[in-house]
């Protein structure tokens, strides 16, 4: 299991660097990124909303990227269980 002892109790948004072991990406302005991603998703925020989303985006990105360093090689939490997903088939088998 990854060592969690150095993880801050609360996300510190004052330092957006060195939070993960991901290689650095080319810097693209957040507003351009957010505009492109919302457009790709088919959303139509007004310019002021786009700006607000872009302003909030660094914190969201830090939160998501920080988790990458924690996840290690752990399986996802949700468990895929075909037995639970096929109750009719199971009933047929058992009949």
């Amino acid at each position: 299991m990854p060592d969690l002892t150095d993880q801050p109790a609360v996300t510190d948004l004052t330092d957006l660097t060195d939070l993960t072991d991901l290689p650095a990406l080319p810097r693209v302005p957040d507003l351009e990124l957010v505009r492109a991603m919302t457009a790709a998703a088919g959303l139509t925020p007004a310019p002021a909303e786009l700006s607000a989303l872009a302003a909030a985006y660094p914190a969201l990105r830090v939160a998501a990227d920080r988790l990458q360093a924690i996840a290690g090689d752990t399986d996802p939490a949700p468990v895929f269980d075909p037995v639970a997903l096929f109750p009719l088939a199971r009933a047929g088998r058992d009949a």
């Binding site: 993880q7 109790a9 609360v10 996300t11 139509t44 985006y57 998501a64 988790l67 924690i70």
Partner: protein
């Protein structure tokens, strides 16, 4: 009969001191007077509730007793389906045909137990964000100070219990939506173990984070409600099938007031790291710890090593799962959503599939770390919020997120009780969370009950309730 808990009202009903119809009239009169100022209700079920209350009285007179909720007025958050009302989710977007006008299983269970459903309560739209005054829905207000937010998203249920518009109600909790309004309104709320209460007939926010929970004045009242609400229903794929037959009885039998043998961990690092923590919060946590020690518990300090990871995972998973549910409607009806709702859910479009899966994987790692802490103590206590209710004049989501300590525990699925723990210098309620082991809902209720046998915070009422 104002200010009664469910427990007290049940005793009075059976002693013939009050009637269900009379109790309903009293809370209805209060709603007539206060609801225009508090925005608790989206709709009231006056005729149906009156008929149900009269039936409850007839049944008691005939010796038919459906249990501790018999004749008790309850409010239901309007993201849970109820018969006779097209659930809105406080949104212009929701399909009126959703759930086909039937009761959600948890609502049906409350009705079958004799509860009188008084109406549907206000929420943040689809259980996320903040009120949008530009939309045609009431803005919920806090009975302790109507200039402040009652917390959300189960706002109406929290404010309604605090103001005495009903004795208990249902909320839902994906990042704190039961516990935050419970905290800001000075009442008690429980996020049960994930899967304990079936969520069929509940509009989803985050599928793997959503919980339905009881809200009432006391932990004992929450225990009575949970006894009725818990249990498997095949319409919720996450509903637990492995509960022993006598499992729900433990919710009330555990409430002895004696915590001898119980180990309580006090987590102080979380509020210490928050900006602008109210100076009344640390001593309120100390006072809770002292009360639990007086009840027989062994109290030790603990630190949760993975709190930030769990909190981040809650946000990432919630945004992704919410966007999955809302994406189609958001593409075609963007401006029909409230501005705060669309601002939060649209963040799901800014996350990748890998972000979501990674968050689920990190969640599992962090839960394992917390498991090691919970192997040494039965419960952990930590504040619910860093402050009292924020004013509507200066509220914003980013600031709020740094002042609430609830979302991390949605990532765990553990049972968490929020219970009143004192007041700020301005007279606004403070709250403590009691976090328990999985399926130890009875234990967190017992800890809350033991606290409330030694304190009176949960019995104080806002002045507006007596105006």
């Amino acid at each position: 009969m104002t200010g009664l808990t469910i427990t007290e009202a049940g005793r009075a009903l059976r002693a013939g001191e009050i009637t269900a119809a009379g109790l309903l009239r009293e809370v209805g009169d209060r709603a007539d007077k206060l609801d225009p100022r508090l925005g608790v209700y989206l709709t009231r079920f006056a005729e149906r509730a009156a008929a149900d209350a009269e039936r409850a009285d007839r049944e008691l007179a005939a010796g038919i007793d459906r249990g501790p909720l018999h004749g008790i007025p309850l409010g239901i958050k309007d993201i849970l389906a109820t018969e006779g009302w097209a659930t809105t989710g406080q949104s212009l977007v929701n399909d009126p045909a959703w759930w086909q006008g039937k009761d959600a299983p948890v609502v049906a269970r409350l009705r079958a137990a004799g509860a009188v459903i008084t109406g549907k309560t206000t929420t943040m739209e689809y259980a996320i964000g903040l009120p949008d005054p530009d939309k045609p829905f009431p803005v919920p207000r806090n009975p302790w100070d109507p200039a402040t937010w009652p917390g959300g998203s189960s706002s109406g249920t929290g404010a309604g219990v605090a103001a005495g518009l009903f004795l208990g109600g249902l909320g839902t909790d994906t990042g704190g939506s039961v516990r935050i309004p419970a905290a800001y309104c000075g009442i008690t709320g429980l996020k049960p173990t994930y899967g304990l209460v079936p969520r069929a007939g509940c509009l989803p926010l985050g599928f793997s984070l959503d919980h339905i929970g009881p809200m009432a004045r006391s932990a004992a009242d929450c225990a009575l409600m949970l006894s009725v609400m818990a249990g498997h229903d095949a319409r919720d794929p996450a509903a637990r099938r492995d509960l022993p037959g006598d499992f729900t009885a433990g919710f009330t039998t555990a409430l002895t007031g004696d915590l001898t043998g119980l180990r309580v961990g006090v987590e102080r690092t979380i509020p210490a790291a928050a900006p602008d923590c109210d100076p009344a919060v640390p001593p309120s946590l100390d006072a809770v710890a002292a009360a639990l020690a007086a009840a027989g518990a062994t109290v030790v300090d603990v630190a949760i090593p993975c709190y930030g990871v769990l909190a981040d995972a809650d946000i990432v998973i919630m945004a992704a799962e919410a966007f999955s549910y809302h994406r189609a409607a958001m593409r075609s009806r963007w401006t029909d959503y409230g501005r705060h709702t669309r601002a939060f859910i649209a963040q799901g479009a800014l996350l990748s599939a890998a972000d979501y899966v990674t968050a689920q994987r990190a969640r599992r790692v962090a839960c394992a770390a917390l498991d090691e802490v919970l192997a040494t103590v039965d419960v952990v206590i930590t504040p619910t919020t860093a402050t009292g209710a924020p004013s509507y004049d200066d509220i914003d989501m980013a600031t709020l997120m740094s002042l609430i300590f609830t979302g991390a525990f949605n990532s765990t699925g553990l049972p968490v009780l929020a219970a009143p723990a004192g007041f700020t210098a301005a007279g606004l309620p403070l709250s403590v969370q009691v976090i328990g082991r999985p399926l130890a809902d009875a234990t967190v209720l017992a800890v809350g009950d033991a606290l409330q046998r030694r304190t009176t915070h949960h019995l104080r009422e806002p002045e507006i309730a007596h105006a």
